[in-house]
């Protein structure tokens, strides 16, 4: 689904007139000393500094594949969904040729958003400031009082800025501003094997329940992204109350829940997936569990996936897309400044699921990992609690410990790529390793880009 439209790219590509942004408007900081992947240390300034945050938007978000939406949100031309890539507002839509495309949600005239609805169906996007209007292919449909512009004005040059590459993987749509990206599937690498445990239960694939849970969290986006990549460690403590009420006796979690073994995948792209391994791993919601044909899943996905990442566990696709297979929660952590993120979460179900099974998964997800969910409530508390003390000068300078499972990453012979123990910071170290690499690499939009 790669776009054939030339990126209109940096907003400096004006047909007449010239703008030149001074390079020193953006100061790039060498972050080498803020992450020690070998020693397992992290400087807390990565969560709090405004300049580092701006650099993240330029060098981590702009060049990366970012999750946009699920293909099931687009059925007919004109169906649209508005979201963000980093802090850039974008419109994702199905054009007349039934191609999924994405545009910057900002009028080329004075910059206002041209679409203020969350989703819907439309024939065009009209800016309500002066009335510039755009077609579903991003081109200008009309400019009021066009006579007032000089002859050199060509409306063909002033279409919505298009996201140059939009690709999907098993229903998940990603986009990137990078003009020459590694293709999405290739960039996922071995991570796709783990994602397939959730996305590829059968030939019909997945759909999403209508609506998106959106809420704010007073914490840096990396706290959540990192946790979903690496942190099974927090489950027993943070979610003790939820594990208690989920347990059959309602008193305390079963011993095998607390003392689980499992694996944690990590890679150089910053992706991570941790999951308990058990021959009887199962979906939590009883109706979902009863419907699943585990034998067929073993046939399709293999024992290693059914006994691993099929059900429990969680994962992050770098930088800010995460998921939980057990309840079909997929979510993106939108950065909103160094101290705040916005969570946008969907419920993913198999298209083949009958209505009552979908409903069971939806209810299980909202009661566990919706914003009122018995797990999610405590996660929100953790991230705001990790964030707020970091503003103290002394506190900010005290390194954080990411040493669990240091040096245990290996090829385990059962899961692709390299894995560590379930209780490990391996994927956290890899996440920040990738972050450091991107933060220190000039992106295509910079003059010193090689």
């Amino acid at each position: 689904m790669t776009s054939t439209i030339e990126p209109q790219g940096a907003a400096t590509a004006t047909p007449r007139g010239t703008l030149r942004r001074p390079a020193d408007l953006a100061r790039n900081i060498d972050v080498s000393g803020l992450v020690d992947t070998e020693g397992g240390l992290l400087d807390r300034v990565v969560f709090t500094d405004q300049e580092l945050y701006r650099q993240e938007l330029r060098r981590v978000y702009a060049p990366s594949w970012l999750f946009l939406a699920h293909t099931d949100q687009f059925h007919k031309p004109g169906d649209f969904f508005t979201t963000y890539m980093g802090e850039d507002p974008v419109i994702v839509t199905l054009d007349r040729d039934r191609r999924i495309r994405a545009y910057l949600n900002s009028c080329r005239h004075r910059g206002a958003r041209v679409c203020r609805a969350d989703s819907g169906t439309t024939r065009n996007f009209t800016c309500t400031y002066h009335g510039w209007s755009y077609n579903l292919d991003g081109s200008v449909a009309s400019v009021p009082n066009k006579d007032g512009y000089p002859e050199s004005f060509e409306s063909g040059q002033w279409g919505l800025v298009e996201v140059p590459h939009v690709e999907s993987y098993r229903g998940l749509i990603f986009g990137t501003w990078n003009p020459e990206p590694i293709p999405l599937r290739e960039s996922l690498g071995d991570m796709a094997w783990y994602m397939d445990a959730m996305l590829d239960h059968d030939d019909q694939g997945t759909v999403v329940v209508g609506g998106v849970h959106k809420w704010v969290l007073e914490g840096n986006w990396k706290l959540a992204a990192e946790q979903f990549a690496t942190d099974w460690y927090h489950v027993n403590m943070s979610h003790a109350s939820a594990l208690m009420i989920l347990s059959p006796a309602g008193k305390k979690p079963k011993d095998e829940v607390v003392h689980r073994t499992g694996r944690q995948y990590s890679d150089a792209h910053g992706n991570g997936a941790g999951f308990p391994v058990h021959p009887k791993n199962r979906f939590d919601a009883q109706t979902v569990h009863a419907w699943m044909d585990y034998d067929a899943l073993r046939e399709r996905l293999g024992d290693a996936r059914v006994e691993g990442p099929l059900t429990n566990g969680h994962a992050t696709v770098f930088p800010n897309f995460s998921y939980l297979p057990v309840n079909g929660s997929i979510r993106v952590w939108h950065p909103k400044g160094p101290d705040r993120m916005e969570v946008w979460a969907w419920t993913l179900v198999d298209k083949s699921m009958p209505e009552e099974v979908r409903e069971a998964q939806r209810l299980y997800n909202l009661r566990t990992f919706g914003p009122s969910g018995v797990f999610e409530q405590d996660d929100g508390e953790n991230w705001s609690e990790a964030q707020s003390p970091s503003h103290g000068f002394i506190t900010n300078g005290v390194a954080l410990n990411y040493q669990m499972g240091l040096g245990t990453e290996r090829e385990d012979g059962r899961h692709p790529g390299r894995t560590s123990e379930l209780y490990s910071d391996a994927a956290g170290r890899a996440f920040y390793g990738r972050w450091r690499e991107l933060m220190n690499t000039p992106a295509w939009h910079e003059e010193n880009h090689s």
Binding site: A117, V212, H213, W215, M244, L363, G370, S372
Partner: protein
């Protein structure tokens, strides 16, 4: 036809009288007091066994698509609960390990703009004109830890059932929160 039945029929859909209105308001104030005091088990006693407790998400839609601005049943909701699932959620607080509410929040549930009508059984299957349709507005102020503040404003549309012993119980509750992105890190209270 007995006179009582005639009376009931004539009340269907009409505004509740002053005494009934007072009773409904007092019922809500007591309910709010239980929630603000953290007496969740006692709050559960005010809910009917067949409770339907629903708080849909709300989306920004173009004016011509406003009908879609409230998530439909089966779509994304903040709450979609039965009495059992609420009891399950409340049991979590008894664990002593529900960290999002430990230390507990200070909440104040304000309930106002109460409009009470007798149910019209023709519109509400399974209810009688003894039962009440009530719409109210709420403002919930939540203050937590040092300086966290959340303000939740919205409406509740209830069906209050008149039980055999004359009490009121919440049998249906649809909660509309006046927010798009939930402006809080979680929802750890009830409405």
């Amino acid at each position: 036809m007995s006179t009582a039945t005639d009376q009931l029929r004539s009340r269907a859909g009409t505004r509740a009288d002053r005494d009934t209105h007072f009773e409904v308001e007092q019922f809500y104030y007591e309910e709010a007091d239980l929630l603000d005091s953290g007496r969740y088990a006692d709050w559960l006693e005010l809910l009917a066994d067949d409770l339907d407790y629903w708080m849909p998400t709300r989306t920004n839609r173009l004016r011509r698509q406003q009908a879609l601005s409230i998530a439909a049943r089966g779509e994304a909701a903040f709450y979609d609960e039965t009495k059992d699932s609420l009891a399950w959620r409340i049991r979590r607080f008894d664990s002593g390990m529900a960290w999002a509410e430990d230390p507990p929040s200070r909440t104040r549930h304000l309930v106002t703009n109460v409009m009470a009508r007798h149910v019209d059984p023709a519109e509400q299957d399974g209810f009688t004109a003894d039962d009440l349709w009530v719409r109210s507005s709420f403002l919930v102020h939540q203050n937590r830890l040092e300086r966290e503040v959340n303000i939740f404003a919205g409406s509740r549309t209830d069906i209050l059932r008149r039980t055999a012993d004359g009490r009121l119980q919440v049998a249906r509750r649809a909660i509309l929160l006046d927010q798009n992105v939930l402006l809080a890190k979680n929802i750890s209270t009830f409405f």
